[in-house]
Protein backbone atom coordinates (compact mmCIF):
# COMPACT_ATOMS: atom_id res chain seq x y z
CA UNK A 1 0.00 0.00 0.00
CA UNK A 2 1.31 3.44 -0.84
CA UNK A 3 2.33 5.58 2.11
CA UNK A 4 -0.21 8.24 3.05
CA UNK A 5 0.73 11.60 1.56
CA UNK A 6 1.78 14.29 3.99
CA UNK A 7 1.87 17.92 2.86
CA UNK A 8 5.28 19.47 2.88
CA UNK A 9 7.93 21.53 1.15
CA UNK A 10 10.94 20.54 -0.87
CA UNK A 11 14.13 20.84 1.13
CA UNK A 12 17.74 19.94 0.41
CA UNK A 13 21.28 21.01 1.27
CA UNK A 14 23.09 23.69 -0.69
CA UNK A 15 25.83 22.12 -2.77
CA UNK A 16 28.47 24.77 -2.08
CA UNK A 17 27.85 25.39 1.60
CA UNK A 18 25.87 22.38 2.76
CA UNK A 19 23.32 24.71 4.39
CA UNK A 20 19.64 23.78 4.56
CA UNK A 21 17.63 25.20 1.69
CA UNK A 22 14.02 25.19 0.51
CA UNK A 23 12.47 25.47 -2.92
CA UNK A 24 10.01 28.28 -3.65
CA UNK A 25 7.02 28.14 -5.97
CA UNK A 26 9.11 30.03 -8.53
CA UNK A 27 11.81 27.38 -8.40
CA UNK A 28 14.34 29.42 -6.41
CA UNK A 29 16.27 27.94 -3.50
CA UNK A 30 16.14 29.95 -0.28
CA UNK A 31 17.10 29.50 3.35
CA UNK A 32 13.78 30.58 4.87
CA UNK A 33 11.28 27.73 5.15
CA UNK A 34 8.34 30.13 5.22
CA UNK A 35 9.19 31.19 1.66
CA UNK A 36 9.01 27.61 0.42
CA UNK A 37 6.20 26.35 -1.73
CA UNK A 38 3.67 24.47 0.39
CA UNK A 39 2.78 21.31 -1.49
CA UNK A 40 -0.49 19.64 -0.67
CA UNK A 41 -0.92 16.87 -3.22
CA UNK A 42 1.12 13.90 -4.31
CA UNK A 43 1.13 14.79 -8.00
CA UNK A 44 2.56 18.26 -7.39
CA UNK A 45 5.09 16.80 -4.96
CA UNK A 46 6.37 14.34 -7.57
CA UNK A 47 6.65 17.09 -10.18
CA UNK A 48 8.50 19.48 -7.86
CA UNK A 49 10.82 16.76 -6.66
CA UNK A 50 11.79 15.79 -10.15
CA UNK A 51 12.41 19.46 -10.97
CA UNK A 52 14.54 19.72 -7.85
CA UNK A 53 16.48 16.58 -8.77
CA UNK A 54 17.45 18.27 -12.01
CA UNK A 55 18.99 21.13 -10.01
CA UNK A 56 21.83 19.06 -8.62
CA UNK A 57 24.28 21.88 -9.30
CA UNK A 58 22.53 23.80 -6.50
CA UNK A 59 20.75 21.35 -4.24
CA UNK A 60 21.86 18.02 -2.82
CA UNK A 61 19.42 15.31 -1.76
CA UNK A 62 16.06 17.05 -2.29
CA UNK A 63 13.11 15.48 -0.52
CA UNK A 64 9.62 16.36 0.56
CA UNK A 65 9.87 17.43 4.19
CA UNK A 66 6.68 17.38 6.27
CA UNK A 67 5.27 20.87 6.78
CA UNK A 68 2.10 22.61 7.86
CA UNK A 69 0.66 26.05 7.23
CA UNK A 70 1.99 28.70 9.60
CA UNK A 71 1.35 32.39 10.14
CA UNK A 72 4.12 33.57 7.82
CA UNK A 73 4.13 30.63 5.45
CA UNK A 74 4.70 26.91 5.76
CA UNK A 75 6.58 25.67 8.78
CA UNK A 76 8.22 22.33 9.62
CA UNK A 77 5.85 19.67 10.91
CA UNK A 78 8.40 17.32 12.44
CA UNK A 79 11.00 18.04 15.10
CA UNK A 80 13.84 16.94 12.82
CA UNK A 81 12.72 19.53 10.29
CA UNK A 82 12.36 22.13 13.02
CA UNK A 83 16.01 21.57 13.97
CA UNK A 84 17.08 21.63 10.35
CA UNK A 85 15.34 24.98 9.95
CA UNK A 86 16.62 26.53 13.16
CA UNK A 87 20.14 25.13 13.46
CA UNK A 88 21.67 23.30 16.40
CA UNK A 89 19.72 23.73 19.61
CA UNK A 90 22.92 23.82 21.62
CA UNK A 91 25.17 26.87 21.47
CA UNK A 92 27.84 25.79 19.03
CA UNK A 93 30.82 27.20 20.89
CA UNK A 94 32.01 26.28 24.31
CA UNK A 95 32.83 29.22 26.50
CA UNK A 96 36.23 30.73 26.11
CA UNK A 97 37.76 32.46 29.07
CA UNK A 98 38.89 32.02 32.61
CA UNK A 99 37.24 29.47 34.82
CA UNK A 100 35.50 30.84 37.83
CA UNK A 101 35.95 27.78 39.95
Amino acid sequence: MAKAFHPGFVSANDLATGRVIYRTAEGRWVQAPEQAEFITDAGAAAARLSAAEAEGHIAVGPYLAPARPGLRGPEPAHFRETFRASGPSAPARVSWGADHA
Binding site: G18, R19, P88, A90
Partner: protein, 547 residues
Protein backbone atom coordinates in the same frame (compact mmCIF):
# COMPACT_ATOMS: atom_id res chain seq x y z
CA UNK B 1 54.36 6.87 3.30
CA UNK B 2 51.28 8.07 5.11
CA UNK B 3 53.12 10.72 6.99
CA UNK B 4 54.53 11.87 3.71
CA UNK B 5 53.12 15.34 3.21
CA UNK B 6 53.70 15.05 -0.54
CA UNK B 7 51.53 11.93 -0.77
CA UNK B 8 48.77 13.47 1.31
CA UNK B 9 48.96 16.70 -0.62
CA UNK B 10 48.60 14.71 -3.87
CA UNK B 11 45.46 13.15 -2.42
CA UNK B 12 44.19 16.62 -1.54
CA UNK B 13 44.91 17.82 -5.09
CA UNK B 14 42.99 14.90 -6.49
CA UNK B 15 40.05 15.84 -4.29
CA UNK B 16 40.39 19.50 -5.29
CA UNK B 17 39.87 18.48 -8.91
CA UNK B 18 36.89 16.34 -7.95
CA UNK B 19 35.31 19.20 -6.01
CA UNK B 20 35.81 21.52 -8.98
CA UNK B 21 34.17 19.00 -11.27
CA UNK B 22 31.26 18.64 -8.88
CA UNK B 23 30.80 22.40 -8.63
CA UNK B 24 30.93 22.93 -12.38
CA UNK B 25 28.37 20.20 -12.90
CA UNK B 26 30.63 17.59 -14.53
CA UNK B 27 30.01 15.20 -11.66
CA UNK B 28 26.59 14.34 -10.29
CA UNK B 29 26.05 13.93 -6.57
CA UNK B 30 25.72 10.21 -7.12
CA UNK B 31 29.17 10.15 -8.68
CA UNK B 32 30.68 12.58 -6.21
CA UNK B 33 29.31 11.16 -2.95
CA UNK B 34 31.64 8.13 -2.75
CA UNK B 35 34.58 10.38 -3.61
CA UNK B 36 33.85 12.84 -0.85
CA UNK B 37 33.21 10.04 1.65
CA UNK B 38 36.59 8.55 0.78
CA UNK B 39 37.98 11.86 1.96
CA UNK B 40 36.02 11.90 5.20
CA UNK B 41 33.50 14.49 4.01
CA UNK B 42 29.92 13.82 5.07
CA UNK B 43 26.83 15.88 4.40
CA UNK B 44 25.03 16.25 7.71
CA UNK B 45 21.90 17.93 8.90
CA UNK B 46 22.98 21.57 8.55
CA UNK B 47 26.24 21.43 6.66
CA UNK B 48 29.13 19.33 5.45
CA UNK B 49 31.18 17.65 8.15
CA UNK B 50 34.84 16.75 7.80
CA UNK B 51 36.02 13.89 9.99
CA UNK B 52 39.76 13.82 10.56
CA UNK B 53 41.50 10.76 11.98
CA UNK B 54 43.79 11.24 14.96
CA UNK B 55 45.56 7.89 14.69
CA UNK B 56 45.54 6.05 18.04
CA UNK B 57 44.63 9.40 19.60
CA UNK B 58 48.16 10.73 19.46
CA UNK B 59 48.66 14.42 18.76
CA UNK B 60 51.62 16.75 18.74
CA UNK B 61 51.50 20.49 19.40
CA UNK B 62 52.02 21.12 15.67
CA UNK B 63 49.09 18.88 14.79
CA UNK B 64 46.80 20.44 17.37
CA UNK B 65 47.73 23.90 16.10
CA UNK B 66 46.92 22.81 12.58
CA UNK B 67 43.50 21.66 13.76
CA UNK B 68 43.05 25.01 15.50
CA UNK B 69 43.96 26.85 12.29
CA UNK B 70 41.52 24.79 10.28
CA UNK B 71 38.70 25.43 12.74
CA UNK B 72 39.41 29.13 12.68
CA UNK B 73 39.97 29.65 8.99
CA UNK B 74 37.45 27.35 7.43
CA UNK B 75 34.99 26.44 10.14
CA UNK B 76 33.34 28.22 13.08
CA UNK B 77 36.34 28.31 15.36
CA UNK B 78 35.89 25.01 17.12
CA UNK B 79 36.23 21.28 16.59
CA UNK B 80 34.42 18.33 18.07
CA UNK B 81 36.39 15.42 19.53
CA UNK B 82 34.58 12.12 19.06
CA UNK B 83 34.49 8.78 20.87
CA UNK B 84 36.83 7.20 18.29
CA UNK B 85 39.82 9.50 18.43
CA UNK B 86 38.67 11.60 15.52
CA UNK B 87 37.94 15.30 15.32
CA UNK B 88 34.99 16.60 13.37
CA UNK B 89 34.55 20.01 11.81
CA UNK B 90 30.86 20.77 11.56
CA UNK B 91 30.64 23.67 9.14
CA UNK B 92 33.08 23.52 6.22
CA UNK B 93 32.12 24.81 2.79
CA UNK B 94 32.69 22.30 0.02
CA UNK B 95 35.05 24.57 -1.83
CA UNK B 96 37.27 24.98 1.25
CA UNK B 97 37.73 21.30 2.01
CA UNK B 98 40.74 20.78 -0.30
CA UNK B 99 42.51 23.65 1.49
CA UNK B 100 41.67 22.04 4.81
CA UNK B 101 43.13 18.76 3.57
CA UNK B 102 46.26 20.59 2.45
CA UNK B 103 46.69 22.09 5.89
CA UNK B 104 46.23 18.66 7.43
CA UNK B 105 48.78 17.17 5.03
CA UNK B 106 51.38 19.67 6.22
CA UNK B 107 51.33 17.93 9.60
CA UNK B 108 50.79 14.38 8.34
CA UNK B 109 47.07 14.24 9.13
CA UNK B 110 44.26 13.28 6.81
CA UNK B 111 40.65 12.19 6.58
CA UNK B 112 41.26 9.08 4.50
CA UNK B 113 39.25 6.02 5.60
CA UNK B 114 37.22 7.95 8.12
CA UNK B 115 34.18 6.81 6.19
CA UNK B 116 33.12 3.94 3.99
CA UNK B 117 33.41 0.18 4.28
CA UNK B 118 37.10 0.19 5.01
CA UNK B 119 39.37 -0.29 7.99
CA UNK B 120 38.78 2.88 9.99
CA UNK B 121 41.09 4.92 12.16
CA UNK B 122 42.94 2.52 14.47
CA UNK B 123 42.26 3.46 18.07
CA UNK B 124 44.39 2.77 21.12
CA UNK B 125 44.67 3.31 24.83
CA UNK B 126 44.97 7.09 25.22
CA UNK B 127 47.34 6.51 28.14
CA UNK B 128 49.69 4.54 25.86
CA UNK B 129 53.28 4.69 27.01
CA UNK B 130 52.26 6.35 30.26
CA UNK B 131 49.69 4.27 32.13
CA UNK B 132 50.74 2.44 35.26
CA UNK B 133 50.87 -1.32 34.75
CA UNK B 134 51.35 -1.21 30.99
CA UNK B 135 52.70 -4.36 29.34
CA UNK B 136 53.74 -2.51 26.20
CA UNK B 137 53.01 0.71 24.38
CA UNK B 138 50.25 -0.13 21.89
CA UNK B 139 51.08 2.69 19.48
CA UNK B 140 53.80 0.93 17.47
CA UNK B 141 51.34 -1.92 16.84
CA UNK B 142 48.53 0.52 16.07
CA UNK B 143 50.79 2.39 13.65
CA UNK B 144 51.87 -0.84 11.98
CA UNK B 145 48.21 -1.71 11.46
CA UNK B 146 47.51 1.77 10.14
CA UNK B 147 50.35 1.53 7.63
CA UNK B 148 49.19 -1.92 6.56
CA UNK B 149 45.49 -1.06 6.32
CA UNK B 150 45.54 2.37 4.71
CA UNK B 151 44.95 2.09 0.97
CA UNK B 152 45.19 -1.70 1.30
CA UNK B 153 43.87 -2.69 -2.13
CA UNK B 154 42.02 -5.77 -0.93
CA UNK B 155 40.20 -4.06 1.91
CA UNK B 156 38.75 -0.89 0.39
CA UNK B 157 35.32 -2.43 -0.20
CA UNK B 158 34.65 -4.63 2.77
CA UNK B 159 31.09 -5.78 3.49
CA UNK B 160 30.93 -3.00 6.09
CA UNK B 161 33.15 -0.63 8.05
CA UNK B 162 35.79 -2.29 10.21
CA UNK B 163 37.14 -0.92 13.48
CA UNK B 164 40.33 -2.03 15.20
CA UNK B 165 41.51 -1.06 18.68
CA UNK B 166 44.74 -1.89 20.48
CA UNK B 167 45.67 -1.83 24.14
CA UNK B 168 48.83 -2.76 25.97
CA UNK B 169 47.37 -2.42 29.42
CA UNK B 170 45.33 -4.82 31.51
CA UNK B 171 43.02 -1.90 32.17
CA UNK B 172 41.39 -1.69 28.77
CA UNK B 173 40.80 1.98 28.03
CA UNK B 174 40.70 1.29 24.29
CA UNK B 175 37.44 -0.68 24.76
CA UNK B 176 38.89 -3.42 22.56
CA UNK B 177 35.90 -5.71 23.13
CA UNK B 178 33.62 -3.17 21.44
CA UNK B 179 35.54 -3.30 18.16
CA UNK B 180 35.34 -5.51 15.10
CA UNK B 181 38.84 -6.55 16.09
CA UNK B 182 40.39 -5.88 19.46
CA UNK B 183 44.05 -6.50 20.12
CA UNK B 184 45.39 -6.85 23.64
CA UNK B 185 49.14 -7.00 24.03
CA UNK B 186 49.94 -9.57 26.70
CA UNK B 187 52.91 -11.39 28.12
CA UNK B 188 53.08 -15.06 28.86
CA UNK B 189 56.07 -16.94 30.19
CA UNK B 190 58.22 -13.96 29.40
CA UNK B 191 57.07 -13.85 25.79
CA UNK B 192 55.04 -11.06 24.28
CA UNK B 193 52.03 -11.77 22.13
CA UNK B 194 48.46 -10.75 21.41
CA UNK B 195 45.03 -11.79 22.52
CA UNK B 196 42.80 -11.10 19.54
CA UNK B 197 39.11 -10.44 20.07
CA UNK B 198 36.67 -10.36 17.21
CA UNK B 199 33.09 -9.40 16.57
CA UNK B 200 32.62 -6.80 19.26
CA UNK B 201 30.51 -3.77 18.54
CA UNK B 202 27.69 -1.59 19.77
CA UNK B 203 25.05 -0.19 17.45
CA UNK B 204 21.78 -1.95 16.89
CA UNK B 205 23.17 -5.34 17.92
CA UNK B 206 25.58 -4.78 20.81
CA UNK B 207 28.03 -7.65 21.25
CA UNK B 208 31.08 -8.18 23.45
CA UNK B 209 34.01 -9.32 21.31
CA UNK B 210 34.95 -13.00 21.55
CA UNK B 211 38.45 -14.39 21.77
CA UNK B 212 39.57 -15.45 18.31
CA UNK B 213 43.21 -16.08 19.22
CA UNK B 214 44.12 -16.48 22.84
CA UNK B 215 47.82 -15.89 22.43
CA UNK B 216 49.16 -14.96 19.04
CA UNK B 217 52.95 -14.84 18.82
CA UNK B 218 54.21 -11.37 18.12
CA UNK B 219 55.63 -12.22 14.71
CA UNK B 220 52.29 -13.48 13.43
CA UNK B 221 50.20 -10.35 13.83
CA UNK B 222 49.97 -8.98 10.29
CA UNK B 223 49.49 -12.30 8.50
CA UNK B 224 46.84 -13.14 11.08
CA UNK B 225 45.04 -9.83 10.54
CA UNK B 226 45.23 -10.35 6.81
CA UNK B 227 43.68 -13.78 7.29
CA UNK B 228 40.87 -12.40 9.47
CA UNK B 229 40.07 -9.59 7.05
CA UNK B 230 40.25 -11.96 4.09
CA UNK B 231 37.86 -14.42 5.74
CA UNK B 232 35.46 -11.63 6.68
CA UNK B 233 35.68 -9.99 3.27
CA UNK B 234 34.42 -13.19 1.70
CA UNK B 235 31.97 -14.38 4.33
CA UNK B 236 30.54 -11.05 5.48
CA UNK B 237 27.04 -10.47 4.18
CA UNK B 238 26.62 -7.90 1.47
CA UNK B 239 22.88 -8.43 1.02
CA UNK B 240 21.83 -6.60 4.16
CA UNK B 241 23.84 -3.78 5.66
CA UNK B 242 22.42 -4.44 9.10
CA UNK B 243 23.89 -7.93 8.98
CA UNK B 244 27.18 -7.08 7.35
CA UNK B 245 29.43 -6.47 10.36
CA UNK B 246 31.80 -9.22 11.43
CA UNK B 247 29.80 -9.70 14.64
CA UNK B 248 26.95 -11.07 12.55
CA UNK B 249 29.32 -13.26 10.52
CA UNK B 250 30.54 -14.74 13.80
CA UNK B 251 27.02 -15.16 15.14
CA UNK B 252 25.91 -16.90 11.96
CA UNK B 253 28.97 -19.11 11.44
CA UNK B 254 29.95 -19.61 15.05
CA UNK B 255 33.35 -18.55 16.30
CA UNK B 256 34.84 -22.04 15.82
CA UNK B 257 34.07 -22.22 12.13
CA UNK B 258 35.30 -18.68 11.55
CA UNK B 259 38.48 -19.38 13.50
CA UNK B 260 39.11 -22.51 11.43
CA UNK B 261 38.80 -20.51 8.22
CA UNK B 262 41.12 -17.81 9.57
CA UNK B 263 43.68 -20.44 10.52
CA UNK B 264 43.49 -22.07 7.12
CA UNK B 265 44.15 -18.73 5.46
CA UNK B 266 46.80 -17.84 7.98
CA UNK B 267 48.74 -21.03 7.22
CA UNK B 268 48.76 -20.11 3.55
CA UNK B 269 49.68 -16.47 4.12
CA UNK B 270 52.28 -16.84 6.83
CA UNK B 271 55.25 -17.78 4.61
CA UNK B 272 54.80 -14.62 2.54
CA UNK B 273 55.54 -12.45 5.58
CA UNK B 274 59.29 -12.73 5.77
CA UNK B 275 60.03 -10.20 8.44
CA UNK B 276 59.65 -6.79 6.81
CA UNK B 277 56.62 -6.18 9.04
CA UNK B 278 58.65 -6.99 12.12
CA UNK B 279 61.46 -4.73 11.00
CA UNK B 280 58.96 -1.89 10.65
CA UNK B 281 57.57 -2.66 14.08
CA UNK B 282 61.05 -2.52 15.56
CA UNK B 283 61.59 0.90 13.96
CA UNK B 284 58.25 2.09 15.25
CA UNK B 285 59.17 1.07 18.77
CA UNK B 286 62.13 3.40 18.54
CA UNK B 287 59.92 6.16 17.19
CA UNK B 288 57.49 5.78 20.06
CA UNK B 289 60.15 5.51 22.73
CA UNK B 290 59.37 7.26 25.98
CA UNK B 291 60.50 10.86 26.31
CA UNK B 292 63.37 11.30 28.75
CA UNK B 293 61.30 11.82 31.87
CA UNK B 294 63.05 14.11 34.27
CA UNK B 295 63.84 13.66 37.89
CA UNK B 296 62.97 16.61 40.07
CA UNK B 297 61.64 17.31 43.54
CA UNK B 298 57.87 17.18 43.90
CA UNK B 299 57.50 19.39 46.98
CA UNK B 300 55.89 22.19 45.02
CA UNK B 301 53.09 19.82 44.02
CA UNK B 302 52.47 18.86 47.63
CA UNK B 303 52.58 22.49 48.68
CA UNK B 304 50.09 23.52 45.98
CA UNK B 305 47.75 20.75 47.01
CA UNK B 306 47.78 22.06 50.56
CA UNK B 307 47.51 25.72 49.66
CA UNK B 308 45.01 25.74 46.81
CA UNK B 309 41.71 23.89 47.18
CA UNK B 310 40.79 24.53 43.54
CA UNK B 311 44.00 22.90 42.39
CA UNK B 312 43.50 20.06 44.84
CA UNK B 313 39.97 19.43 43.57
CA UNK B 314 41.25 19.28 40.01
CA UNK B 315 44.19 17.05 40.95
CA UNK B 316 41.87 14.68 42.82
CA UNK B 317 39.64 14.13 39.79
CA UNK B 318 41.73 14.76 36.69
CA UNK B 319 45.02 12.99 37.40
CA UNK B 320 45.75 9.33 36.77
CA UNK B 321 48.63 7.11 37.84
CA UNK B 322 51.72 7.27 35.65
CA UNK B 323 54.14 4.37 35.27
CA UNK B 324 57.06 6.60 36.31
CA UNK B 325 57.55 8.05 39.76
CA UNK B 326 57.20 11.81 39.97
CA UNK B 327 54.90 11.94 36.95
CA UNK B 328 51.21 11.97 36.34
CA UNK B 329 48.71 11.71 33.51
CA UNK B 330 46.56 14.83 33.30
CA UNK B 331 43.08 14.70 31.82
CA UNK B 332 41.91 17.93 30.24
CA UNK B 333 38.15 17.81 30.53
CA UNK B 334 36.24 19.00 27.47
CA UNK B 335 33.07 18.77 29.52
CA UNK B 336 32.47 22.16 31.09
CA UNK B 337 29.16 21.87 32.91
CA UNK B 338 26.54 23.04 30.45
CA UNK B 339 28.96 22.95 27.51
CA UNK B 340 28.96 20.71 24.45
CA UNK B 341 30.79 17.47 25.30
CA UNK B 342 33.98 17.15 23.25
CA UNK B 343 34.05 20.66 21.77
CA UNK B 344 37.21 22.76 21.92
CA UNK B 345 37.76 26.20 20.42
CA UNK B 346 40.78 27.07 18.31
CA UNK B 347 42.12 29.17 21.16
CA UNK B 348 41.74 26.25 23.53
CA UNK B 349 43.51 23.89 21.14
CA UNK B 350 46.39 26.34 20.88
CA UNK B 351 46.49 26.70 24.65
CA UNK B 352 46.74 22.91 25.04
CA UNK B 353 49.49 22.78 22.40
CA UNK B 354 51.45 25.44 24.30
CA UNK B 355 50.94 23.78 27.66
CA UNK B 356 51.94 20.39 26.25
CA UNK B 357 55.12 21.91 24.90
CA UNK B 358 55.88 23.55 28.19
CA UNK B 359 54.86 20.91 30.69
CA UNK B 360 53.97 17.73 28.79
CA UNK B 361 57.01 16.70 26.71
CA UNK B 362 55.07 17.77 23.61
CA UNK B 363 52.70 14.81 23.82
CA UNK B 364 48.90 15.12 23.66
CA UNK B 365 46.23 12.46 23.37
CA UNK B 366 42.59 12.38 22.44
CA UNK B 367 40.65 9.99 24.67
CA UNK B 368 37.71 7.82 23.74
CA UNK B 369 35.65 9.80 26.21
CA UNK B 370 35.95 13.09 24.27
CA UNK B 371 38.56 14.55 26.61
CA UNK B 372 42.17 15.46 25.90
CA UNK B 373 45.07 14.09 27.86
CA UNK B 374 48.62 15.13 28.60
CA UNK B 375 50.16 11.72 29.22
CA UNK B 376 53.38 12.82 30.86
CA UNK B 377 53.48 15.70 33.30
CA UNK B 378 55.99 16.03 36.11
CA UNK B 379 54.21 16.59 39.42
CA UNK B 380 56.06 19.84 40.01
CA UNK B 381 54.60 21.24 36.75
CA UNK B 382 51.02 20.45 37.61
CA UNK B 383 50.21 23.72 39.44
CA UNK B 384 51.43 25.75 36.46
CA UNK B 385 49.62 23.46 34.05
CA UNK B 386 46.45 23.87 36.05
CA UNK B 387 46.80 27.65 36.02
CA UNK B 388 47.26 27.57 32.24
CA UNK B 389 44.23 25.36 31.82
CA UNK B 390 42.15 27.67 34.00
CA UNK B 391 43.10 30.64 31.90
CA UNK B 392 41.94 28.71 28.84
CA UNK B 393 38.64 27.61 30.39
CA UNK B 394 39.87 24.03 30.43
CA UNK B 395 40.26 23.24 34.10
CA UNK B 396 36.88 21.64 34.75
CA UNK B 397 37.55 19.24 37.62
CA UNK B 398 35.21 16.44 36.63
CA UNK B 399 37.11 13.68 34.79
CA UNK B 400 35.24 10.45 35.46
CA UNK B 401 32.48 12.16 37.44
CA UNK B 402 28.83 12.17 36.51
CA UNK B 403 29.14 15.49 34.66
CA UNK B 404 31.87 14.05 32.40
CA UNK B 405 29.15 12.87 30.04
CA UNK B 406 29.95 11.19 26.75
CA UNK B 407 27.53 12.32 24.08
CA UNK B 408 27.37 11.93 20.33
CA UNK B 409 26.30 14.97 18.27
CA UNK B 410 22.75 13.63 17.96
CA UNK B 411 20.14 15.61 16.11
CA UNK B 412 21.94 18.88 16.58
CA UNK B 413 24.30 17.86 13.80
CA UNK B 414 23.92 14.27 12.65
CA UNK B 415 21.68 13.40 9.74
CA UNK B 416 21.12 9.88 11.05
CA UNK B 417 19.92 10.97 14.47
CA UNK B 418 16.48 10.15 15.79
CA UNK B 419 16.72 12.54 18.75
CA UNK B 420 18.93 15.19 20.29
CA UNK B 421 21.74 14.17 22.63
CA UNK B 422 23.81 17.30 23.38
CA UNK B 423 21.08 19.32 25.14
CA UNK B 424 20.22 16.27 27.23
CA UNK B 425 23.88 15.99 28.28
CA UNK B 426 24.00 19.70 29.07
CA UNK B 427 20.90 19.64 31.20
CA UNK B 428 21.89 16.50 33.08
CA UNK B 429 25.31 17.98 33.81
CA UNK B 430 23.69 21.11 35.19
CA UNK B 431 21.20 19.11 37.24
CA UNK B 432 23.79 16.78 38.75
CA UNK B 433 26.71 19.16 39.20
CA UNK B 434 25.81 19.65 42.86
CA UNK B 435 26.20 15.96 43.70
CA UNK B 436 29.01 15.13 41.27
CA UNK B 437 31.79 14.97 43.87
CA UNK B 438 29.72 13.09 46.35
CA UNK B 439 28.66 10.55 43.72
CA UNK B 440 32.24 9.91 42.58
CA UNK B 441 32.88 7.84 39.46
CA UNK B 442 29.56 7.49 37.68
CA UNK B 443 29.28 7.42 33.92
CA UNK B 444 26.49 8.64 31.69
CA UNK B 445 26.69 8.05 27.95
CA UNK B 446 24.20 9.32 25.42
CA UNK B 447 23.55 8.40 21.79
CA UNK B 448 21.16 10.15 19.43
CA UNK B 449 20.25 6.98 17.57
CA UNK B 450 20.65 3.22 17.57
CA UNK B 451 24.10 3.50 15.95
CA UNK B 452 25.41 4.14 19.45
CA UNK B 453 28.30 6.49 18.70
CA UNK B 454 27.85 7.81 22.25
CA UNK B 455 28.49 4.24 23.52
CA UNK B 456 25.33 4.38 25.60
CA UNK B 457 25.42 0.62 26.16
CA UNK B 458 28.65 1.08 28.12
CA UNK B 459 27.52 3.70 30.60
CA UNK B 460 26.58 2.97 34.20
CA UNK B 461 23.62 4.91 32.91
CA UNK B 462 23.04 4.86 29.17
CA UNK B 463 20.59 7.02 27.28
CA UNK B 464 19.41 6.31 23.78
CA UNK B 465 17.41 8.96 21.94
CA UNK B 466 14.72 7.60 19.66
CA UNK B 467 11.67 8.86 17.89
CA UNK B 468 8.32 7.57 19.09
CA UNK B 469 5.13 8.82 17.55
CA UNK B 470 6.68 11.98 16.14
CA UNK B 471 8.43 13.09 19.33
CA UNK B 472 11.76 12.39 21.00
CA UNK B 473 11.83 9.52 23.43
CA UNK B 474 14.76 8.48 25.62
CA UNK B 475 15.45 4.90 26.59
CA UNK B 476 17.59 4.23 29.65
CA UNK B 477 20.00 1.33 30.03
CA UNK B 478 21.66 0.38 33.29
CA UNK B 479 24.81 -1.44 34.30
CA UNK B 480 26.99 -1.11 31.23
CA UNK B 481 30.74 -0.74 31.48
CA UNK B 482 33.67 -0.39 29.10
CA UNK B 483 37.03 -1.91 29.88
CA UNK B 484 38.48 -5.35 30.20
CA UNK B 485 35.29 -6.91 31.50
CA UNK B 486 33.05 -4.91 29.21
CA UNK B 487 29.34 -5.32 29.84
CA UNK B 488 26.35 -4.13 27.88
CA UNK B 489 23.74 -2.24 29.82
CA UNK B 490 20.25 -3.61 30.19
CA UNK B 491 17.23 -1.61 29.12
CA UNK B 492 15.38 -0.35 32.17
CA UNK B 493 11.91 -0.07 30.65
CA UNK B 494 9.81 2.28 28.56
CA UNK B 495 11.27 5.52 27.25
CA UNK B 496 10.97 9.03 28.66
CA UNK B 497 9.81 12.16 26.90
CA UNK B 498 12.38 14.92 26.37
CA UNK B 499 11.12 16.90 29.35
CA UNK B 500 11.10 13.84 31.61
CA UNK B 501 14.54 12.38 30.99
CA UNK B 502 16.60 14.80 33.08
CA UNK B 503 14.54 14.44 36.29
CA UNK B 504 14.47 10.67 35.72
CA UNK B 505 18.27 10.52 35.59
CA UNK B 506 18.48 12.76 38.64
CA UNK B 507 16.26 10.30 40.53
CA UNK B 508 18.50 7.46 39.41
CA UNK B 509 21.61 9.24 40.66
CA UNK B 510 19.82 9.97 43.93
CA UNK B 511 18.89 6.30 44.26
CA UNK B 512 22.53 5.34 43.82
CA UNK B 513 23.59 7.67 46.61
CA UNK B 514 20.91 6.23 48.86
CA UNK B 515 21.53 2.58 47.99
CA UNK B 516 25.30 2.31 47.89
CA UNK B 517 26.84 0.74 50.92
CA UNK B 518 29.56 3.34 51.20
CA UNK B 519 31.13 5.98 48.97
CA UNK B 520 33.62 3.41 47.73
CA UNK B 521 30.94 1.17 46.24
CA UNK B 522 30.74 1.85 42.52
CA UNK B 523 27.42 2.06 40.71
CA UNK B 524 28.10 -1.28 39.00
CA UNK B 525 28.80 -2.95 42.36
CA UNK B 526 25.68 -1.48 43.93
CA UNK B 527 23.45 -2.60 41.10
CA UNK B 528 25.07 -6.03 41.16
CA UNK B 529 24.34 -6.28 44.86
CA UNK B 530 20.80 -4.89 44.92
CA UNK B 531 19.68 -5.97 41.49
CA UNK B 532 18.16 -3.39 39.15
CA UNK B 533 14.73 -3.25 40.84
CA UNK B 534 15.30 -0.35 43.28
CA UNK B 535 16.93 1.67 40.50
CA UNK B 536 14.08 0.99 38.14
CA UNK B 537 11.62 1.95 40.87
CA UNK B 538 13.38 5.28 41.30
CA UNK B 539 13.50 5.85 37.58
CA UNK B 540 9.80 5.32 37.05
CA UNK B 541 8.72 6.65 40.41
CA UNK B 542 6.59 9.55 39.36
CA UNK B 543 6.26 9.73 35.66
CA UNK B 544 3.44 9.07 33.37
CA UNK B 545 6.08 8.02 30.90
CA UNK B 546 5.85 8.05 27.17
CA UNK B 547 5.73 4.60 25.69
Amino acid sequence: MLDDAAYLSRRAEEFRAQVARRLDGSLTEEEFRPLRLMNGLYLQLHAYMLRVALPYGTLTPARLRALADIAERWDKGYGHFTTRQNIQFNWPRLIDVPDMLDRLAEVGLHAIQTSGNTIRNVTADPFAGAGAGEVADPRPVAELIRLWSTDHPEFQFLPRKFKIAVTGNAEDRAITAANDLGIRITERDGRRGYTVLAGGGLGRTPVVGQVLADFLPEADLLPYLEAVLGAYNLAGRRDNKYKARIKITLAEQGVEAFRAEVERRFAALRPAFRGADRAVLAELRVRFASPALRNAPTDSYDAARKADPVFRAWADTNLRAHRAPGHSIAIISLKPVGGVPGDATSAQMRAVANLAERYGYGDIRAGLDQNLILPHVHLSDLPALHAGLRAAGLATANAGLVTDIVSCPGMDYCSLATARAIPVAQEIARALDGIAREAGALSIRISGCINACGHHHLGDIGILGLEKGGVESYQVTLGGRPGTDMAIGTRAGPGFAADEIVPAIARLAGAYLALRRDPGEAFSATIARTGPAPFIDALYQETAHAL
